[in-house]
Structure formats: C-alpha cells, structure tokens
Symmetry: C2
Subunit: 324 residues, 2 copies
C-alpha cells in the first residue's frame, strides 16, 4: 500500500484535525492570526497527527479525545519551525535590516511562543497527567536539541554518538511520543504505548538520516530549497561525519569546510558536497536508515495485527526510501 | 510593615524557591546552562513566587507542593524577559551583526524556549488539571499581549482601553494567577482563590502603571536603564495617552513622537518626556494606580484575617508608592 492510500483512508479524520488546527489559532489579533495561518496553510505532511491517529487505533479510538494530542503535537512542531525561521531571517537579511524585517522577527518569535502556548493549552483538556508529563519532558529535550545543533555547528570532530543524540532530540522524540500519546490518549495498553514509542523513535531517526541525505542529493524542487543548505549553516550531518572518517578525503573536506565557515555559507558548496557524494558516507548513511526502519518494524511485531499496524509498517517503508 | 520585613519573614521559603529555580535549569548543556544561570543570577524581586507563597497561606501551606507553582511562574516570567531581549539585541546591534551577536540571539531565543518548556514540565508534577488550565490559558494571553504591544507601537490614537487590555495581558494576568494558583495548589477555598486572583489582577495593573511612570521619572540607577526607554521603543504608556488628550500639548507631542519614530529612537527623547512630565497625565496615572490598589485591597476584605492578608496589603501599598 502506498502512502497516499493511507492518507486517503484517514482523510476524513486528517481533515478534521486540519480544521481543528485552524480553529486553534483563530485568534482575534490580526498579525498573530495572519502569521499563524500563513504557517498552517504552508502545509506539511502532518506526519505527527497521522502517527497519533494510527497509535490511537491500538486503544479505543475516539477522535474527540485523540485530537487533544494530535493538534498540540503538530502545533509544537510548527512553533519550532517558526523559531528556526527567526534565526534564518536574521542571517539572510544581515546588514540590511529594515524596520519591516525587524517587525517580522518580532512577530515570528512571538507567533512561535503563541502557537507553543496554544498547544499546551489544548492538551490541558485531557486530564491524564501522564500525557502532560510525556509531552513537556519531550519539549524540554527538543529545546536542548536545538541548542546542541548550534553548539556543534562546523565541529568536524563530533562523533556519530553526538549526531545521534542530537537528532533524537531534534526529530525522533516528537515522532516517538506522537505514536505513544495516540495510544495513551486512547487508553491502549502500556505495552502497546511503549512499543509504539520505540517504533516512532526508530522511524524518526531514519526520517532525519534520510532528510540529511536528501539535503545532499535532492533537487531544489524536491526539498524546497537548494541542496547543501545544512552545510551552509554549519550543520554537519551523518554522511559528512562518515566521509570525514576517510583519511584520504578528510584534508580536502576540512579545507572546503573552512572556506564555508569563513564565508559564513556565502560560497559555492558544491565542491564540498561532491566529495561527500562520492564517499562511502552515502551508502553507510543509507544502511543506517534501513537499520532504523528494521528496528521500527520489529517493535510492532508483538502488537495485534490490526490495519493500523500494517499502515505503520507501510509508512516506515516509505520513510526508509523517501525521496520527497 | 515594610516590604523588606515581609521578605525577611518569608526568607527561608524564598531561599528554598531560589534553590529550586537554580536546580530547575541545571542542565547538562554548557551554553544553555550558562545563559539560564546568568539570567537567574541577574536577580529580580521574585514577586511572583512571593505572591504564590502568600496565596498558599489561605490553604494548607505545603512548600513541597506550592513550589511546583512558584518555580514555573517565575521561570515563565524569565522566559518572556529573554525573548524580549532577543528583539532588543537585534535592534541595538543593527547593521553590525557579528557572528557572536548572531549566536547570542539564537542562544537567547532557544534559552527562552527551554526555560518555558522547563516551567511547564515542573507544573506537570501537580496533577490538578485546573492548575494546568489556568496557567496555559494565561500564557496564551501573555503572548497575545506581547504582540499587542508591537501592534500599538507609535500608535498615538490608541485608547485607554487598548492600553489597559494590553497591560492586563502583559503583566497583570501572571501576577493574578500567581496569587490564585498559590491558593489552588494549597487546596484553599474556591472563594479565596477567586478573591486572590482579583487582588493580584489589580495589584498587577497598578504595578504596570507605576512602572510606566517610573520610566518617565526614574534615574538610571533606579530603573537600570535611562528614562524614556518606553517611548524610544514606541511603547505609548498611560501618562502619554493622558497627555495626548490635552489638545494644547497634542501637536507638540505628535511632532516629537514623529522624530522619535523616524529616527528609530536614536534621538534625544527629553523634549518629549518633559512635555509629558508637565502634563496632567502624571497625576491622572498616579490616581489610576491608587484606584487599582484600593480595589486590590478591597478584594481581600472577605478573607480571613491571617498574617498573609496583612502582608499582601502591605505589598499592595508598597507597589502603589513604588519608586524602585
């Protein structure tokens, strides 16, 4: 089954979540509303709500309950995106900050804060303290992950472990708790919730590794921005870490990396990308993603063979091969 | 009784809260830890925790419970301060953004996010859903208040009502729920919690009006920054709104305001301040603050005459005359 088929099957519920997302940010404040809606309308795969819905199928599926988890998780994801953009804006407009760009940054930052607060406000409609604890703990880790990313910018000495811990915080955790909280909110068994967490964690790790590969190979159309965006920002991803382990390639990579850092990313990064592309870093990263997908699917083995399980497996396979 | 005496009496508990605040941001991340600690060590009056503690005296006072409200409320206040600073940084360094200043902004923004998330994580230790609801609802309003402030920058046509709604969101709400949640966390009666909310709301309104007056009259030593900071940013406060109602002063004020706006605050604001200082806006603002203090104290009337009530009244009087 293809991913589109799964979305088609869940279409009614996803549309309902979409409406709830819109409703949640329907604030009587023109700028705030405009900024939030703009962000929402920009779309996204809504992969977190989809995981929540599928996780909930392992319990007593009640959309009216489950939405109080699905909507906040997508909002939290959106809030982190806005805050990442604030920083990006500050870069690209550097040296020519207009009043308008100043205002945009303010608006973007407070919009992020607002969406984040709104997310937490919605989840309080569920009285299960476990849900609040899981969610707030994960958000703390996401914040640390964002900071970690900055700390390791242009750090060519970082280990595979540094990278893995970082993407766990930055990406995998929120996907893991999406699967888990869907189950918890639907009153599924503790075991189901735990296994779904493990599934989501591994899918999330694979997702980020694939994302990092895409940034090396994707066309501008596929990834919505020119390739090499990660390295321009100083974000050293797993294919690069693997490539740096090749003693022959390392000196050349470090030389290019220094140019990128010294020019603050305002240089042609293709020489750097080409070295990585030709290294064994690609195959090793692909193998790593596949291993995570295998682990994700294995985590579901002991769960009942309902349709949602098959759908989760299909999504996992899709993410393992993603090229969108 | 003087404010210092009240602090002295609560000293042991305030010190404990201070320790818990430190502990709460003790994260294994060098930059994050440094930034958060710097902020914490910068001090502050910890007025929100003090209100939480005093509110809790109307119920069964248990510091181990109440700290789960006192610490988050102070952290939330801190988080909003950091995010305000991000924007200020972006202004003052405009046109000469160094890599270091870029990093500071990132760090400041994610530090704010982290402190905010940490606050919400701590409050999940209390299982009473009412507490979560009250807190998250207030935070949403605080975010809207921050945006409102931006929207009304340099808007000389705003009404008293616009101003009051804005400072309610920006300042009064968090103080109101500090008093209220102290009571709720200590299992005080619904009536006590409600009256304490009303008390806190009115004290918070008076606090902000006084703060706005201080920005006109305070010395740099008293307020930690040169006077006139509000108008430099375009923040039109209540003494200015009152002064603008004087048809004789209005043209001159508008002229000065335009200069300030056109130079983006990089001009001498004393001519503007002097007009406001000589207007009836000062006396009217002072009367407004006094009226709020009266209402605050009246709200406590029906509550039992315990020491905490006397302390709250003393603090209210102090805020009504504040010049710190």
């Amino acid at each position: 089954m293809k991913l589109l088929d799964i979305y088609a099957k869940l279409k009614k519920d996803i549309n309902y979540i979409e409406k709830e997302l819109e409703r949640s940010i329907d604030v009587e404040h023109p700028m705030l509303r405009e900024a939030s809606l703009h962000l929402l309308k920009a779309g996204g795969k809504r992969i977190r709500p989809v995981f929540v819905l599928l996780g909930a199928k392992f319990g007593t599926y009640d959309l009216e309950q489950v939405k109080h988890v699905a909507v906040p998780l997508e909002l939290i994801h959106m809030a982190t995106l806005v805050h990442d953009d604030v920083i990006d804006d500050a870069n690209t407009r550097r040296g020519q900050l207009t009043v308008r760009s100043k205002w945009d940054n303010r608006i973007a930052m407070y919009t992020g804060d607002y969406i984040f607060a709104k997310a937490l406000n919605i989840v309080t409609k569920l009285s299960n303290p476990l849900i609040h604890q899981i969610m707030s703990k994960a958000i703390v880790q996401v914040c640390i992950g964002e900071m970690e990313q900055i700390r390791f910018f242009f750090n060519s000495e970082q280990s595979i472990r540094d990278y893995l811990l970082r993407i766990k915080r930055k990406t995998a955790l929120l996907i893991a708790i999406s699967c888990q909280l869907g189950a918890v909110a639907a009153g599924a068994s503790e075991k189901a919730a735990r296994q779904l967490y493990i599934f989501g964690y591994n899918v999330g790790m694979a997702f980020q590794v694939r994302d990092d590969l895409l940034d090396l190979f994707g066309t501008e159309k596929e990834i919505g921005k020119p390739p090499g965006n990660d390295i321009k920002q100083g974000n050293i991803t797993i294919p690069v870490i693997f490539a740096l382990q090749n003693e022959k390639l390392k000196p050349e990579l470090l030389r290019e990396l220094k140019v990128i850092q010294d020019t603050d990313g305002q240089t042609d990064v293709n020489p750097f990308l080409n070295i990585v592309r030709q290294s064994e870093g690609i195959a090793r990263s692909e193998a790593m993603a596949s291993k995570y997908i295998d682990k994700a699917i294995a985590a579901l083995q002991s769960l009942p063979d309902i349709q949602a399980k098959k759908d989760l497996i299909s999504i996992a396979h899709f993410i393992g091969n993603r090229s969108y």
